[in-house]
């Protein structure tokens, strides 16, 4: 794990070249270590809130533009990865979210100019300005100097993000595996659809940068099958039967692990993380509405708001799962779980060495050569 990188502070002693390699997935020990370093004075709760805000913002801007799910998912992954190496206190979450979105559009060839993405972000952040707009598309009339400033900041963060992925523009998404594996498991289309949605939501957690895409897909299929048990009858009998069979198969270790190259323990861990996310969202419905949820009713109710409640606050659709149902599900899961596997230790090298204070000092300083390697040592050949 030697990166050929020494931690020497004085410029005269900086090596003339050093290497950084792309670390596509993180172990939970690494995530814990890195998060703690970046968290600073923030509590874990505050960190989580900030994370959800940013992910929701990416979702809002991205779906308004009409990006496919893979673009949004990767953007969220990039956001999570960024804050493993850079503290939230130094960055505005809008800048990071938009930069992540921009990099993602390049990775998935769903290109959009930063200026255009920025315009849509203004419409999301300032809906009242968008409503007043004269253009057909609802573009916000933003002061050009502000827009240009914002754009420059987004591009600056973009550069940092590119370095956190070592310029490796490949990414494998779990979505197609949800469908492929779901079909092979003979799950109902409805279950697969539900699992697909859970996969979308899983990108609001760090799961996709911890597990390979097939495991994430299986984890979401497993979670969907568990949630199906919460559904009040009558669901069509045949469907309920196949769905519970999926739950049974994936719960136990078996041949399927070899076929799909994943382990039952991982599916359980993923299910817990995803259900935690659902519980959190079910308990805090207001936290899930617009980042600019008005604290008091708007003094000028525009015609647009009349489809919402009389207070002018947007009403989200009724949540299909109750928090206490989900908590009971978790308890039930804990009751007959697989024994925990030995945790992968942190290893001798500090993963935050991938990007530490020295590097930030180096950025923009034009000294020496940096080698960006697309993969960890030992992974040789074929697109790495």
């Amino acid at each position: 794990m030697d990166t050929g990188h020494s931690r020497v502070p004085s410029p005269s002693q900086l090596p003339t070249s050093f290497s950084k390699y792309h670390h596509p997935y993180f172990t939970s020990a690494e995530i814990q270590h890195l998060s703690e370093k970046q968290r600073g004075k923030l509590s874990a709760t505050q960190e989580e809130k900030s994370r959800q805000q940013a992910c929701a913002f990416i979702e809002a801007v991205g779906s308004k533009i009409g990006f496919p799910r893979k673009t949004l998912a990767t953007a969220q992954n990039l956001y999570h990865r960024f804050h493993l190496f850079f503290p939230r206190k130094d960055f505005n979450y809008h800048d990071v979210a938009l930069a992540a979105l921009y990099v993602s559009t390049k990775m998935h060839d769903t290109l959009k100019k930063p200026r255009e993405i920025l315009m849509v972000s203004y419409a999301v952040r300032f809906p009242e300005l968008a409503a007043k707009s004269k253009s057909v598309g609802g573009d916000v009339d933003m002061d050009p100097a502000t827009a240009e400033n914002d754009r420059q900041r987004v591009l600056a963060v973009e550069r940092l993000i590119l370095e956190t992925i070592c310029f490796n523009f490949t990414s494998k998404m779990p979505f197609s595996y949800v469908i492929k594996i779901g079909r092979k498991l003979q799950a109902s289309k409805k279950l697969i659809k539900c699992a697909w949605r859970l996969t979308i939501d899983s990108h609001r957690t760090l799961v996709p940068i911890m597990y390979p895409p097939n495991t994430v897909a299986l984890g979401c299929l497993y979670t969907a099958s568990l949630l199906a048990t919460l559904e009040p009858p009558p669901s069509p009998l045949a469907e309920a039967h196949t769905d519970s069979r999926v739950a049974t198969i994936l719960k136990e270790k078996g041949d399927w692990e070899r076929t799909y190259m994943a382990e039952a323990e991982d599916l359980e861990e993923i299910a817990h993380v995803v259900i935690d996310l659902l519980i959190q969202a079910a308990q805090n419905p207001s936290a899930n509405t617009s980042p600019r949820t008005p604290a008091s009713p708007s003094p000028h109710p525009s015609p647009r708001n009349q489809q919402f409640s009389s207070t002018g606050t947007p009403q989200p659709p009724p949540i299909p799962y109750k928090a206490d149902q989900l908590i009971r599900l978790k308890i039930m899961m804990r009751q007959n779980e697989h024994p925990p596997r030995p945790q992968q230790p942190l290893g001798s090298a500090d993963p935050s060495e991938l990007y530490n204070g020295n590097d930030i000092a180096m950025l923009g300083k034009n000294q020496g050569t940096v080698r960006f390697l697309f993969g960890p040592p030992g992974v040789v050949g074929q697109g790495v």
Binding site: P68, S176, K193, D201, P212, P213, N288, P320, G378, G383
Partner: protein, 279 residues
Amino acid sequence: MQFLGLIRKLNASQQSIQKVVAFALKCFSKCGEDLWECIIEECQKGSINHRINILYFLDSLCETSLLAKAHQPPEQSSSSKQANTALYVDYVSRDLTQIVECVVPVGRQGLPNLPSTKQILENWRTKRIIEPQKVDEVLLLLSSRHSAPDTISTSAPSAAKPEPHLSRSEIFKRIEEDRERHKRLRERRWVQAQPHPGPAVPSSSTFVLASFLPLSDAENAELALDIEFENEWEATSDWNEDDVEVIAEERELCYPHLRRKGPVSDEEYGEQEMDIDLS
């Protein structure tokens, strides 16, 4: 009529298209039907190049109609006669077969317009601008027709009017126009369907978890999310050996114990590195 003049002058440029689209939308409530009839007429009478220009114009018209509808305040749309329509989109849907038969007439003369027409139709299908069933019908019509080009040209000598040969400059112009238009279409190809927002789906729904959105059993997906899922469902192949290979590779990246052990030197993966010279 003024509109007829505009349509006749329509060329392949974005500028020209936007101009006519704006006019058409402005006058929709007064004389939308009449304007529509002009469009159909021009489609039947114009040259082959003109007809494909009209089809691209219709594409822009549909897109802009839907955009305009999406930004209308809800109460307005329910009271006006635009209640359940998306302006011109319904006309396009209703007369789709007729339009396509004009733009891609039977025989060799229709061939230059065939690939672009298919592209536009598929775009309309993916984005649910026109219902997939309707688009499928028309696509079937086109493909069944063109599977037997020889019989058509020999068996109907009197049916087809003799098409004037395109001049050399017209051909080059057409090539350039096609290139520009394909480029533009490619830039928009990935954009997901933006279905008509109904009162059941408030604009804040994007902030809610996907799993919390109403899960309908119906195949007629209303949410952009579900439309994308349906498209993926149709397009995704079954689990096969290629997937096994891809996943095996990803697992190597994820789990160190799966990686090959051995001496790791710079030379070994020299080809994969990307040197960024910061000086």
